[in-house]
C-alpha cells in the first residue's frame, strides 16, 4: 500500500476519533448508560513503605471493564466515570490488592494517590486482578517485562545482569556465551534503542561485552518491546529496551551491599526535601587479583570496570516532579610487558538527564526531558618510541517532550517532539608519533562531524468497542546531514475474543539513521556513524500477529508470529583503512527475519518462571557478499528454547534453574588452500578458500545453570547468601572455528568458551 496514503489514513482516523469525542460531547457508558461528562480519577500509585512509584500497576473499576495502567511515571487516569459510588481495585505484582470506594459527582476531577503494601507473605499466591492489557486504550504488542526479582536470580558467574536476563527470553539471542549483546528477532544490537530514564545509551557493556553497564540494584523497571513499538520511540528499527532507574526511598534511609567473586556493589537511598535520592555503584577487582599473582617476568593485564548511578527527585507541588539523574560506566585495561611495550584500552559511557513531569490537569500528563549521553573508547600503544592512538566518541544532546491526554475512557492521545544534536569523532594516529595530537586532518579514516535530528510524533489509542482497540501513530524525522525527511506510520490493534483471550496485531515502518561498526563478539571498538550522502537511512517494516491468553490462574501465554523486512542494512567491510564515506565503510543490503514465539510465564506464587520457544529464520543479501546470493548471518539460530524456574522452598531457601538450547551458530567452511607471499618473503602464508558464506552450522549451544539463595541475617540485618553453578555440565560452547594454516597440515581449531563456574556472593540490606 502506498506509504503516503497510509499516513493520511492514520491522520484521518485520528482526527475522526478526536472529533467524535469532542463533537458528541456526551457518550454512552457501555456498562451503565451514564453520560461521558462523568468524573475523572487520576493520580500516582506508590509503594507504601518507600513511596517509590509503581510502573504498570492497574486500577480497575469494579464491575466494569474500565481501567488504566500506570505509565512510566506511575501515573494513571480514568475518565467518564459515572457519578455515584465506584470501587477502584488496585493491584500490582507482589503487592496486596486494594479496594478503594469512591463517591464521585458529575464532572468531578479527583486526585487519588494510592499506596500499595508489599505482600506480607513473600511470594504468596497473590492474585493479580489485572495487567496492563486491561486498560482498553493500552495495546502492548511484543512487550515483555521481567520482574526485577527474577533478574536478580538469573545470574551469570554470580553476577545479576539486565541484558543477560533478557537473553533468557525466546527470540532474544546472544552472539555467544560471553556476549551480552541482544539480537532480537533477527536485529543486531545496534538496532535496539536502549533508554535509561529517557536517555539513549550507546554501548552499555562491561568486560568487552560480557556484562551490561546497568546495575540491577539501580533499576526499577525493565520493559523490552521486541517489535511493533509505538510512535513515541524512534531512531532504531528493531526493538526498544526502556529502563527506569530507582527514585529512592522517600521515607527512610536504606542501603544494600553485596560482595561477589567478580564485583561488589553498594546502593544507598533515602529521603531529601520533598523527594528522595539514590546512589548506586559497582566495581570489579580483577586488577587487584591479577596484581597478586603476576610477576615481573610474566605480567598480566590490569583490568577493572566500575559504574555509578545517581538520582535525586523532588516534588515541586502536587502536580510537578523534577528529577536529575546521572550514570557513568568505565572499563580500563592497561598492560606493560618486560620488553617495554605499553597498551591501554578504555571505554566510557556517561549520561545525565533532567526530567520534569507536569500535570496540566487530571487527564493531561506531560514529561519533558533534557539529556546528555556520551560513549567513548580509546586505545594507546607505545613501544620503542613508536606510538599509535585511537580516540572514538559519540555525544548526544537531546531535548524531548511528551504530552499524554487521557481524553476519555476510550481515547488516549499522545504527542511529542524530540530534537537531538550529535557529535561524532573517530580519530586515529598510526604514524608512530605517539606524542602527536590527533586531528581530523591526520590519517585517512578520521571523522569529526556534527549532526542534528528533529522528530515529532503523534499517537491515538482508541477503544472502538468493548472488544476492539486501535492504536494509530505517526512519527516524522528530519536528518540534517543527510537532508532527508522520513515518516514512520505505526498501527496496532487488539481484539478481545473473551475476557482472557485476545488477538493482537501490529504493523509499522521504522527508520534508523545511525549504524554501528562493530565486532560482534567483542564489544570494544564500537564506532557509530551517521547516514551520509552516500547511503539512505536503514529501514524496517514490522508485521506482528499474536494471541495472548491466561490459560490457567496465574499463567500468561503468548503466541506471536512476526515478519520483518529490512532495507539499507549494513555489514562492515573488513580491512577498510581509508575513507569516511559510509558507503565505503559498509556493504549495503537487505534482509528479512520471520518466525514464531511461544511464551508461557508465571509471575506469582512460590513457583515462578517461564518456558519459551522460538522458531526463527534470518536472511541477508548483499550484492558484494556470497556472490550476491542470500545467506543467513552468524546469529541466525533456527530453534531457541529457554526454560527458567524459581521455587521458594521455605523462609530460608529459594532454588532455581535455567536452561537454554539454541541451534548452532552459522560459520563458513573452507574447502581448499593455497599459499601466497610478498616480495622478499622466505615464508608464505597459507590461505583457505571458503564455501558458501555461513553455510554450515556448528553444534548446538546448550547450558544448564543452577542457583540457590539462603536468607539469613548478618550483623542483625537481612542478608542473602547467593550460590551459583554456571554451566552445570560444563558444555563448552564454540565461540568460533578457524583454520590454522601456520603449518602444512591445516588445523581446524575451535575456540571454546566458559566451563562450569561455581560462585558465591553475599548480600546484606540495611
Amino acid at each position: 500500500m502506498n506509504t503516503r496514503l497510509i499516513h493520511w489514513l492514520i491522520i484521518l482516523v485520528s482526527v475522526s476519533a478526536i472529533s467524535h469525542r469532542s463533537a458528541q460531547g456526551r457518550d454512552h457508558d457501555r456498562d451503565s448508560g451514564a453520560q461521558l461528562g462523568g468524573a475523572t480519577v487520576s493520580g500516582f500509585v506508590r509503594d507504601a513503605v518507600t513511596r517509590e512509584t509503581l510502573i504498570g500497576a492497574t486500577v480497575l473499576l469494579q464491575g466494569t471493564q474500565r481501567g488504566a495502567a500506570t505509565n512510566k511515571s506511575g501515573f494513571f487516569s480514568i475518565s467518564g466515570i459515572p457519578a455515584g459510588e465506584s470501587v477502584a481495585v488496585v493491584s500490582y505484582l507482589g503487592y496486596e490488592t486494594r479496594e478503594i470506594t469512591l463517591q464521585l459527582s458529575e464532572g468531578e476531577s479527583r486526585r487519588l494517590d494510592i499506596s500499595l503494601t508489599e505482600s506480607v507473605v513473600e511470594m504468596a499466591e497473590v492474585t493479580v486482578e489485572g495487567t496492563r492489557q486491561d486498560d482498553g486504550r493500552q495495546i502492548s504488542v511484543s512487550s515483555v517485562t521481567i520482574p526485577l526479582r527474577q533478574i536478580s536470580q538469573l545470574r551469570v558467574a554470580g553476577e545479576a545482569d539486565v541484558f543477560r536476563s533478557l537473553q533468557f527470553l525466546p527470540g532474544v539471542l546472544a552472539s555467544s556465551q560471553i556476549s551480552s549483546g541482544l539480537y532480537i528477532r533477527g536485529g543486531s544490537p545496534d538496532q535496539t534503542l536502549v533508554l535509561l530514564d529517557g536517555s539513549a545509551v550507546y554501548n552499555p557493556s562491561h568486560l568487552f561485552g560480557f556484562y551490561s553497564t546497568f546495575n540491577p540494584d539501580a533499576i526499577k523497571d525493565v520493559e523490552l518491546i521486541k517489535g511493533g513499538f509505538p510512535a513515541e520511540y524512534g531512531g532504531r528499527m528493531s526493538a526498544v529496551l526502556d529502563l527506569v532507574q530507582q527514585d529512592g526511598n522517600r521515607e527512610e534511609f536504606e542501603g544494600k551491599a553485596s560482595l561477589g567473586l567478580i564485583s561488589s556493589r553498594l546502593s544507598l537511598e533515602g529521603p531529601v526535601g520533598s523527594g528522595s535520592w539514590f546512589l548506586g555503584g559497582r566495581r570489579t577487582y580483577i586488577d587487584m587479583l591479577t596484581s597478586l599473582i603476576e610477576t615481573d617476568a610474566s605480567p598480566l593485564p590490569s583490568y577493572y570496570f566500575y559504574d555509578f548511578n545517581g538520582k535525586i527527585t523532588q516534588d515541586l507541588g502536587v502536580d510537578d516532579k523534577l528529577s536529575l539523574s546521572g550514570f557513568m560506566a568505565k572499563d580500563q585495561m592497561d598492560f606493560t610487558n618486560p620488553k617495554g611495550m605499553t597498551l591501554g584500552l578504555g571505554v566510557r559511557n556517561s549520561a545525565a538527564a533532567m526530567r520534569w513531569m507536569h500535570l496540566f490537569s487530571g487527564s493531561v500528563f506531560s514529561v519533558f526531558n533534557a539529556s546528555w549521553s556520551e560513549y567513548r573508547n580509546g586505545l594507546e600503544n607505545e613501544r620503542g618510541g613508536f606510538g599509535a592512538r585511537i580516540d572514538n566518541r559519540i555525544e548526544d544532546l537531546t531535548v524531548k517532550g511528551t504530552i499524554e491526554w487521557f481524553a476519555g475512557s476510550d481515547v488516549k492521545i499522545l504527542a511529542g517532539f524530540e530534537t537531538s544534536r550529535y557529535a561524532l569523532q573517530y580519530l586515529q594516529q598510526f604514524g608512530g608519533d605517539a606524542d602527536s595530537s590527533l586531528s581530523a586532518g591526520d590519517g585517512a579514516m578520521n571523522i569529526d562531524s556534527e549532526d542534528e535530528v528533529l522528530a515529532g510524533f503523534g499517537q491515538v489509542n482508541y477503544e472502538l468497542s468493548a472488544r476492539l482497540s486501535l492504536q494509530l501513530g505517526l512519527r516524522g524525522s528530519y536528518y540534517r546531514l543527510r537532508d532527508i525527511l522520513t515518516f514512520d506510520p505505526r498501527f496496532a490493534l487488539r481484539y478481545r475474543l473473551q475476557p482472557d483471550l485476545a488477538i493482537k496485531a501490529a504493523w509499522g515502518v521504522y527508520h534508523q539513521y545511525f549504524r554501528l561498526a562493530s565486532v560482534p563478539d567483542f564489544s570494544f571498538f564500537d564506532t557509530w556513524l551517521p547516514t551520509d550522502e552516500t547511503v539512505d537511512p536503514s529501514r524496517a517494516i514490522h508485521y506482528v500477529l499474536g494471541v495472548e491468553t491466561r490459560p490457567f490462574e496465574g499463567y500468561e501465554f503468548n503466541v506471536e508470529g512476526y515478519y520483518k523486512g529490512l532495507s539499507n542494512v549494513s555489514e562492515l567491510r573488513e580491512f577498510v583503512t581509508q575513507s569516511t564515506a559510509v558507503r565505503e565503510i559498509f556493504y549495503n543490503g537487505t534482509g528479512q527475519a520471520y518466525g514464531v514465539e511461544l511464551f508461557l510465564q508465571k509471575r506469582v506464587g512460590n513457583f515462578t518462571g517461564w518456558a519459551g520457544y522460538a522458531l526463527g529464520s534470518i536472511e541477508s543479501r548483499f550484492d558484494e557478499l556470497n556472490g550476491g546470493e542470500p545467506f543467513r548471518p552468524k546469529w541466525d539460530r533456527r530453534h531457541d528454547i529457554k526454560l527458567v524456574a524459581q521455587y521458594r522452598l521455605n523462609e530460608r531457601w529459594e532454588i532455581g534453574a535455567s536452561f537454554t538450547y539454541q541451534s548452532g551458530q552459522s560459520y563458513t567452511a573452507q574447502t581448499s588452500r593455497f599459499q601466497t607471499s610478498f616480495p622478499g618473503d622466505n615464508q608464505g602464508i597459507g590461505v583457505t578458500v571458503p564455501a558458501d558464506l555461513y553455510g554450515l552450522r556448528l553444534p548446538a549451544s546448550h547450558q544448564l545453570n543452577l542457583n540457590a539463595n539462603y536468607y539469613t541475617t548478618l550483623f542483625g540485618q537481612p542478608a542473602r547468601l547467593l550460590l551459583d553453578l554456571y554451566n552445570v555440565y560444563s558444555h563448552r560452547d564454540i565461540w568460533y572455528r578457524y583454520y590454522d594454516t601456520s603449518e602444512d597440515v591445516t588445523e581446524v581449531t575451535d575456540v571454546v568458551l566458559l566451563p562450569i563456574i561455581p560462585s558465591v556472593a553475599i548480600e546484606i540490606s540495611f
Binding site: 618486560p338 620488553k339 617495554g340 613501544r383 620503542g384 618510541g385 613508536f386 586515529q428 598510526f430 604514524g431 608512530g432 605517539a434 590519517g443 585517512a444 580491512f575 583503512t577 581509508q578 558484494e624 556472490g627 533456527r638 530453534h639 528454547i641 538450547y661 541451534s663 548452532g664 573452507q670 574447502t671 581448499s672 588452500r673 593455497f674 599459499q675 601466497t676 607471499s677 610478498f678 616480495p679 622478499g680 618473503d681 622466505n682 615464508q683 608464505g684 602464508i685 597459507g686 590461505v687 583457505t688 578458500v689 571458503p690 564455501a691 553455510g695 554450515l696 552450522r697 556448528l698 553444534p699 548446538a700 583454520y739 590454522d740 594454516t741 601456520s742 603449518e743 602444512d744 591445516t746
Partner: protein
C-alpha cells in the same frame, strides 16, 4: 495421551537433531592461483602460477606449482612472454627473459595466463607514480642497550614523497642472517644473531622479513621491526589498490587468512596481480651492548 507424548517426543527429537552440527563439505575443485607483483624500476619476475589443494590433506607447496602454463604480460606497448624457472625453496616462478626490461611507473600492464587444462586467467594493474626519499633512515643504527627503557629516537623516522598512493607498506628484510663481523671495520669472525624480537618461525626457519602498514607517507619504525642484527634493508612500497588489498586481507589475519574474491583482481581464478613503487635503503644494525 500416549499419542500426545509420542508426538512431543518426536518433536523434541527433531528439534535437537536439527540443532546438530552440519557435516563439513567434501566437494573440492582445484582452482588456479596467480601471484604477481610488478615493482617500478625492477625486472619482471617472480610471477607464481599454482593450483589450490584440498584442505584435508597436508599442503605440498612444490606440488601446487604449475610449471607448464603460458604466461604473458603486455604493457607500455610491449608484449612479453615469460618463461619458467625453479626457485631454491622448491617452488618456481615465471620471469621475463629480457633482463633489460624494467617496470615503468604510471603504466598499465595486462597479464594473461593460459593453464594446461585450458582455463584462461586475466588481470590488470596500473603502476603508481615513483616516490623518493624526503628523510631517509641512516646507514648505521645502534640497537638500544636496554630494550626495556627504549627512548624515542629520531634515527628510525623516515619520510618519503606521497606519489599518488594514500597508504604504504614498509618491509624490513634481513639481508645476511649469518655474517656480521665481516662488515665491521676492522672485520671479525663474529656471527650474526637474532634480536629479542623473534619473528615468525615455521619448522626450523625464521622469517627474514617483517611487514608494517603505514597510513601516511611518514613513519617511525619500532625497534621490534628488526629481527636480525647486521645488514638489513628497509623498503617502502607505494602499492596500487590490489597489492594493498591483498596485503590487508592476508597479512592482517596470518594464521587463518581466508580468500575473499573482492580483494582479488584475477579474473577466472584466485590471487593477485599488483604493483608498487619502491624505495630501498640498506643499513647496518649494530648489536646492543652486553
Amino acid at each position: 495421551m500416549k499419542k500426545s507424548r509420542s508426538l512431543l517426543l518426536v518433536l523434541c527429537t527433531l528439534v535437537l537433531a536439527a540443532g546438530c552440527e552440519d557435516a563439513p563439505p567434501t566437494e573440492y575443485v582445484a582452482r588456479p592461483y596467480v601471484q604477481g607483483y610488478l615493482l617500478v624500476g625492477e625486472r619482471i619476475e617472480n610471477i607464481v602460477v599454482a593450483q589450490s589443494q584440498p584442505i584435508d590433506r597436508p599442503f605440498d607447496y612444490s606440488a601446487s606449482i604449475v610449471r607448464d602454463a603460458s604466461v604473458s604480460i603486455e604493457g607500455g606497448g610491449v608484449e612479453m612472454h615469460l618463461i619458467y624457472r625453479d626457485d631454491p625453496d622448491g617452488g618456481g616462478s615465471y620471469f621475463c627473459p629480457d633482463t633489460t626490461v624494467r617496470v615503468a611507473p604510471e603504466t598499465t600492464y595486462r597479464l594473461v595466463v593460459r593453464m594446461p587444462g585450458g582455463e584462461v586467467l586475466r588481470a590488470e594493474t596500473t603502476t603508481p607514480q615513483s616516490i623518493s626519499w624526503v628523510l631517509e633512515p641512516p646507514s648505521d643504527l645502534q640497537y638500544p642497550r636496554d630494550t626495556t627503557k627504549l627512548e624515542s629516537s629520531d634515527s628510525l623516522r623516515m619520510i618519503w614523497s606521497p606519489g599518488n598512493s594514500a597508504e604504504y607498506l614498509l618491509r624490513v628484510r634481513a639481508v645476511d642472517t649469518v655474517g656480521y663481523g665481516r662488515y665491521l671495520d676492522p672485520p671479525s669472525e663474529e656471527s650474526n644473531a637474532r634480536t629479542n624480537s623473534r619473528g615468525e618461525k615455521r619448522g626450523t626457519t625464521y622469517s627474514v622479513t617483517q611487514w608494517v602498514y603505514a597510513p601516511l607517507n611518514r613513519m617511525r619504525l619500532g625497534w621490534t621491526s628488526f629481527t636480525w642484527f647486521g645488514r638489513n634493508e628497509i623498503t617502502v612500497f607505494a602499492p596500487d589498490y590490489w597489492f594493498l588489498e591483498w596485503f590487508k586481507s592476508t597479512q592482517f589475519s596470518r594464521i587463518s587468512a581466508e580468500f575473499d574474491q573482492r580483494e582479488s583482481n584475477i579474473d577466472g581464478g584466485l590471487g593477485v596481480f599488483g604493483s608498487a613503487s619502491i624505495l630501498r635503503k640498506e643499513l647496518f644494525l649494530q648489536k646492543n651492548g652486553r
